[in-house]
Amino acid sequence: MIRPLKYRRMRSIEETCSALMVLGPSARVLAGGTDLIVSLRGAEPKEDVILLDIGTIPGLGEIREEERALVIGSLASFAQIALSPLVRQLASPLAGAAARMGNPQVRNRATIGGNICNASPCADSVPALIALDARLHFVSTEGEHLLPVEETIDGPYSTTVPHDALLTDIVIPKLPAGALTSYVRLARRQAAAKARMAVAVVLVPDEKGNLVDVRIGCGSVTPRPHRMRKAEGRLLGSVPTDERLAASATDVAAEMIQETGIRWSTEYKEPAVKALTRRALREALGWD
């Protein structure tokens, strides 16, 4: 049973931003609804909720290639993203994440914008977006701004985004030629299970094989998702070796523990995230 609520169909980005500003925190943006509708179950309303349905705003779900970036509209569904030749070519870790998120029915409805803004610790698009250095394009009545993903999500289910800003596009800078990527995901069963942990990796080698750019993004590892810079530093500027990969993986685990402290799950997560990181790096390098 969904709690009582009000509903408004939005016809444009402007209308949405206006409504968000005017109606305040009781207004919630409704895109695919796969997270939001579940959260609205319950009989007794504590406060008013007004859903602003942006699902039919034209142009918000497009995936297009620009000169220096891949731009994904915030309404693009996970199914669209998983199947998009552009995403597979230009942002492969994101396509990989999209293909395994949720289940087929949920993938047909869930949007990348909703996934990001819901900011679940296991949000499937986030590790890949971090490794891809994605920037998020927000529009509000006060203007537009572009924010790196790392500066957007600051904790479980928490973003730094003002309530009245609407996420319209995800801008993924094109990777340099020769960039290597991967995405690995750990879950409790083969389908329809949330990511227990995920690692996305982007490596850019020079002609001699030295890594000039290393980006590691993890899911369900730290409370605030971010690039694992210490681990990245371990590999930067040199040719990757088994030992360096292992050390980098250990760094990820250490960074995790530094931020979360020792928790009930650490005994499992520590070896597992090490293994996943090593695996993601090896996969990107084509070593397995």
């Binding site: 049973m1 009989a43 409790r188 083969q190 009930w264 799950s265 005994e267 597992a272 695996r279």
Partner: protein
Amino acid sequence: MKDFKVVGKKVRRVDALGKVTGQARYAADLADPHMLYGAVLRASLSHARVVSIDVSQAVSFPGVEAVLTAADVPGRNRFGTMIPNQRVLADDKVRFRGDGLAVVAARSAREAARALSGIRVQLEPLSAVFSPEEAMKRGAPGIHGKSNIFVHHKVRKGRIADGFRRADVILRRTYTTALIEHAYLEPEAVMARPDGEGGVLVEGCVQNMYTTRRGLSTVLRLPLAKIRVVQTTVGGSFGGKDEVMTVLAARAAMLALRTGRPVQMVNSREESFHESYKRHPYVMEYRIGAKKNGRLTALEVRMVANAGAYATTTPFVVWRSVVQCAGPYVVPHVKADAYGVYTNTVYTGAMRGFGSPQGNFGIELLMDELAGELGMDPLDLRILNGIRTGSRTATGQKLDQPVAFIETLERSARSINWKRRREELDGQPRNARRRKGIGMAASYRGCALGAEGTDAAGAVVSVQTDGSVIVWSGIAEVGQGYYTVIAQITAEVLGVNLADVTVLPYDTAIMSDSGPSVASRSTMLGGTATRRAAGRVRRKMLAEARLILRTKAKSMDLERGWVVSSGGQRRMRIRDLAAACFERGVALFEFGWYKGPDIHWDEQRGRGSPYFTYVYGTNMAEVEVDQETGEVRVLQFVSAHDVGRVVNPQGVLGQIYGGVAMGLGYGLLEEVEEREGRLVTENFDEYLIPTSLDMPQMKAVMVENPDRHGPYGAKSVGEPTTEIAAPAVVNAICHATGQRVRDLPANLERVLLGKKLVRT
């Protein structure tokens, strides 16, 4: 052997059309223009005295027609098969968090739910116990009476001390299993309506109509004849729609009788998790003794089952576990004790297997550990000790029916190429990231209820004047394909097409109490009753045919819609015979009743013949374990079962495949997590059952070992097929990693770390 026309053949399920078109009616699909909707207020504490429940505000909430508590129970607020200590609504105490305190009937589901917030409850917390260990301690708070240990069954064979003295090797191990949810896709639902004459009609997904009716009779203070329970299409049960449905039906019936209107109650999935009973978690301690050559000499077992807040069928579950505790092996000296203990957690009861998945997990892992200790192939150890025709079981029963156990071992071994595969896999590098393993498990299972209770069932076969046939059975179709089986049996006996037979829904008004749809008894008991009823009709029809055709020929037969003579000559159509019988005043309506053979169980001495016959099975699995993350993929699975005779091949396959799926879930994925009596797992996002991508290719081996007690020799298939998949796959994991997992489920943490991590 006669060539069967319908039995054993691939046929269309008689109830599939409605299910694929969306026309089949499940309990939540029922509607009535005058109906009200019921809602339940449940406890917020695990153990507490009920001081007061004030509904005075709630009754004036919009749309509300009635608000009832235990004080409004017309009869006795107690029911339960063996130990009637379960309540419809809490009266003296709350004994677990799912206990219902009050119910509301309102004009809409939303209004009913809203009204719950108007009910004022005062509870006085009592100290609670959440584990059997705590509950068994001296001074632990008594949940019902003073002692929380309310069941003890035992098995004694030989002299246990002698057995261990003779052993060259002795192992002690402890195994545990988890709290498991049936997870039928259809949440519990019921519609109750007053019949206008003081009685009540209940329609719902009720698995055991007679048990539920008895409970209603006590609670509502109505004679059985005034309560009619009709089963809607059931969306899965697996043993789980018994007591929880009695509770739901009683609540709906109370509201219906009070308001004079139909009342529908439908559980959400969360409500189903919180209030419906689960599979007992067990702690099992073993001590096993064997000679150097692998011959078992002694087995000592202690099992403790967590019964949760109410008794339900725990006495029977625990009894089956202890009776079968030694597995399908000859063990000369056995000392086994099994206990059921109350705790302030969700109550536990019947679930497919009924104490066998737990016990089989224990003994089958133990056999593998013993094989490891002795340096023997686990298959060889089982063949060496396996029961055969004439063997004596752990309870001292001589198996005089043919025992097909070794055949299931050998055929599954051939199918998966056991020896060769084990050798190949032993050659993998020990520290490979992903390592494969192969494992097995085996079991024997007593068919039907055994000494649990009266095992009898009835059926009615009624040939209509146009030759079409109606069958009523006293046992429920819960999705397993039972109606199709009895339709096949009827068609076989009467020589008509399957399409001419209609099985009508299970209805207490028509049939004598035929016991529950449990214990994999439906084909054996209900099928035999049906065969008897059909046989009576057939004899009558042939007798009339002889008169009509003016022949004294003894060997007339009914075949493919015709009365045929011994030469196969078609003499008259069955439908014309049916019409003629009517005209001649001969009623083709017969009742068949079958009571299972007598069994003998000596509770005092812990020995006897607990079941009249048995089935045998072996499962073998190949897995791949990711040794860095604990992930397990099941690559292939062989499931070999002695089913007696295959009546419906697709049906048997469906039970085998489905049974393996449920067993794999049990072994690898499933666990209802509970913290201080509160269930943390409350929907399918957290409670993981296998999806289509989690299932391996499965190979089913059906062993036909016809039994004189079953219709056409058929025995049981529903439960045997799920009770050994978990140990097979866990033994395979152990083969892959070289590490033992002794606790279910063998999830990521247990496989990687060898232990469970407790969420804080």
